[in-house]
């Protein structure tokens, strides 16, 4: 620990902590070198390649020089204590931070080699390729059918009603919901249970046939049975989609992901194979977190 303290950069930890709004239970004597990530942050078959990403909320810096590759058709889990910036970072990947006026993103973020934050980039096309599932199930107050058909209708994916029906059925099947709802497609989605709603949101996201699905704590509002179903679904989806999942449950990260990234105070501390992170973490902060010493 002392050797680490000597490698302190120009950071002032107390200020950074205040800015990131982090709980006080963090070990403050460990300091992370900015932009330095232990483990294996880079991959050969990168879907996303992100270099020196910084995110500012007004004056405060929520993400500090993060570099990371997200590999194709893999599940990567973002873990870390509350306020560590993992959700902020996730929302950069489909530019959901755009709607926040004071939020500024710097650095190079590329999807298949194309800059995500290029001013000429079509956000609609980006979001069609990078779908998202949110923390709380947020079905539209419409019928189950209309919820799933929403994206395909906007993007003109179906020419005929029959095509649309097929897309809806396929998406619901992939989300493991078809058998439960096939007889009541016209019922309102808000009448479903929480777990069903969340799987509907996943079906809605994959109905536009995205390449990547971002999931922001998708199970935090669900009971264990519904959580198990969603996790099963994630495992199935990982065969054809690249999935990025933010989670507070380390067991979940261990169960569903191939790689795990540990965030701390806006830094990306460690990235590695999930098994490696949970059995032999290299960084002591990662170790403290996964052994439950804080967070």
């Amino acid at each position: 620990m002392n050797s680490m303290n000597q490698s302190i950069t120009n950071e002032v930890p107390s200020e950074e902590e205040a800015a990131a709004g982090v709980a006080e239970s963090q070990p403050t004597d460990t300091v992370i070198e900015e932009g330095k990530t232990v483990g294996k942050p880079f991959a050969d078959n990168a879907k996303f390649s992100l270099r020196d990403v910084e995110v500012f909320y007004g004056e405060s810096r929520a993400i500090k020089k993060i570099s990371l590759d997200i590999a194709r058709n893999q599940v990567i889990a973002f873990i870390g204590p509350s306020g560590c910036g993992k959700s902020t970072f996730l929302r950069c990947l489909n530019r959901m931070n755009d709607s926040i006026d004071i939020c500024k993103v710097k650095g190079s973020l590329k999807l298949d080699g194309q800059d995500i934050y290029d001013p000429k980039r079509d956000v609609v096309e980006l979001r069609a390729r990078v779908g998202m599932v949110f923390q709380k199930p947020n079905p539209f107050p419409k019928s189950i059918y209309d919820n799933v058909a929403y994206g395909p209708r906007i993007h003109g994916l179906a020419n005929r009603k029959a095509d649309l029906d097929e897309i809806v059925e396929n998406s619901l099947r992939k989300a493991g919901l078809w058998e439960e709802v096939k007889d009541r497609l016209e019922a309102t989605a808000t009448g479903m249970s929480g777990g069903q709603q969340q799987r509907l949101c996943i079906a809605r996201a994959i109905a536009v046939n995205p390449e990547v699905v971002l999931m922001d704590e998708p199970c935090s509002a669900l009971d264990p049975i519904a959580t198990a179903k969603v996790e099963e679904l994630i495992a199935e989806l990982s065969e054809s989609y690249t999935i990025v999942i933010v989670t507070h449950s380390m067991q979940q990260a261990a169960r569903v992901s191939h790689r795990t990234a540990y965030f701390h105070l806006g830094h990306l501390v460690e990235v590695n194979e999930t098994k490696k992170v949970f059995t032999a973490p290299e960084h002591e902060l990662t170790e403290s977190y996964i052994t439950g010493r804080f967070g």
Partner: protein
């Protein structure tokens, strides 16, 4: 003592009772080892004593004030010599006002007959006695009841639940008062309306297309028969309200959408208060704006393109009324749109929908019941609006759908029927009540329909 002063005194006594009750509960609690051995907090014992002292006194005061006039009148009339006792109610009230004028000194006692002057003296004395008696009674009731309440304070007394239940009844009384007032208004309007229908047939009023309420005031006067067909008034109201809504709903709704979805915080902070300022302008100012600026402009414009338009038009009144109503629609819609959860917006945007697609397909449908509510509120505002119409649309009851002609509305006719010296049993005056009743019924119907619609959509979208 004057009733107002007496009211103040009862309040003071109640406060004193509160203090004494509070003190007594504390002093009872001290030997037991602190207020935690009381059944309730000292505040509740104090409040209970205050309520005991205040409420009976107020009831006595209210009853006395309500009935003393009538009782004194009966005594005075009963004391008159038999030849003066009035036969009809009209005579009685004339006589009583004469007596009370003498008593107050407005009419010198020398101008009237001796028995009346005598009665006036008695009236004065009775009033004085009544005041004294009332003061004594109210104060003693207050003190006695307060004392009883104070005396019955025991550590085991559950003052909290007693105060709660008294407060519950007080709140209920307030709610009942509002309802009773409404019922009273309905009955008084209904009564006069029935009298009107005794003079003018119901069917003529409902289906008549002619409105000219000029009737002869005296038998020897030469005047028109008077026509009481409400159709032109209601079509006028509908025409003007429709024009107003055509202006207000799109502008208000779209500005609400702009404010809630597109404008950044700074713009919103400036534009929203400015827009709401429109609601603060007195309607009479809108009225002369409509009459002196908009109406001439419209008639000039119409003349320029070769259409005939009168100098006062439904279009001018309706248009200006629409501008007046914009803030109602925009402010209410803005609130409703903002209340739609952010997660729905995010969900739609994350699927690649544009902002306007999100608005159109997700937010607007979800906010629709609330928006409908705002629009219907605006409609009832438009129907009830009078001043702009008086000034800019004229008084002529034309049955027309042409917005360039002068029309009149129900509310304007009610005003013109009831202003100035009126006989209270002529059909002309009573027509105002009939119109009011019809207006009330139609807005009631509108509200019922609105509630139905809102409920239907709510089932679909919640």
């Amino acid at each position: 003592m004057q009733p107002a002063n007496l009211l103040l005194l009862t309040l003071v006594l109640a406060v004193v009772a509160y203090g004494l009750g509070y003190a007594r509960s504390r002093s009872l609690a001290m030997p037991l080892g602190g207020i935690r051995h009381l059944k309730s907090l000292p505040f509740y014992y104090g409040a209970r004593a205050a309520l005991w002292s205040g409420i009976p006194a107020l009831i006595v005061l209210g009853c006395w004030a309500a009935f003393q006039g009538k009782v004194i009148q009966l005594i005075i009339i009963g004391g008159l010599p038999p030849e003066l006792i009035p036969e009809t109610e009209g005579q009685a009230s004339l006589l009583l006002s004469k007596i009370s004028n003498v008593a107050s000194g407005a009419l010198p006692a020398g101008f009237v007959e001796a028995p009346i002057a005598e009665a006036a003296e008695r009236l004065k004395a009775l009033r004085e006695q009544s005041r004294l008696l009332m003061s004594a009674l109210v104060v003693s009731v207050s003190v006695l009841a307060g004392f009883l309440g104070w005396l019955r304070i025991r550590p085991r007394l559950n003052a909290r639940s007693q105060v709660e239940s008294i407060l519950k009844w007080l709140f209920f009384a307030c709610a009942a008062l509002a309802i009773l007032t409404t019922v009273g208004i309905i009955f008084s309007v209904a009564f006069e309306t029935f009298r009107f229908f005794g003079k003018v047939p119901f069917t003529e009023f409902i289906f008549g297309s002619q409105w000219s309420p000029q009737t002869a005031l005296r038998a020897d006067q030469v005047a028109a028969e008077g026509a009481f067909g409400m159709i032109p008034l209601f079509t006028g109201t509908l025409l003007i309200s429709a024009i107003a809504m055509v202006v207000a709903v799109p502008v208000g709704l779209l500005s609400a959408i702009y404010l809630s979805e597109y404008a950044n915080k700074r713009v919103r902070g400036v534009v929203k208060p400015l827009l709401e300022m429109l609601a603060g302008i007195p309607t009479v100012v809108y009225g002369f704006f409509a009459a002196l600026t908009v109406a001439p402009f419209i008639s000039d414009l119409a003349a320029a393109i070769g259409i005939e338009a009168s100098s006062q038009s439904a279009l001018a009144a309706g248009g200006v009324m629409g501008i007046m109503i914009i803030p109602f629609v925009s402010s209410l819609s803005d609130d409703v749109i903002n209340a739609v959860p952010q997660t729905l917006r995010d969900g739609s945007l994350a699927l690649g929908a544009t902002q306007s697609e999100t608005m159109k397909k997700v937010i607007f449908p979800a906010a629709l019941p609330g928006i409908m509510g705002g629009v219907l509120l605006a409609v009832s505002r438009a129907i009830g609006e009078t001043m702009i119409v008086v000034m800019a649309a004229g008084l002529a009851a034309n049955l027309t759908a042409n917005p360039l002609e002068t029309v009149t509305t129900v509310t304007v006719q009610i005003v013109t029927l009831l202003t100035g010296d009126q006989e209270f049993d002529s059909a002309k005056t009573l027509a105002a009540f009939a119109l009011g009743a019809m207006l009330f019924l139609s807005t009631l119907l509108l509200n019922v329909i609105a509630l139905k619609i809102v409920r239907k959509y709510r089932e679909q979208y919640d």
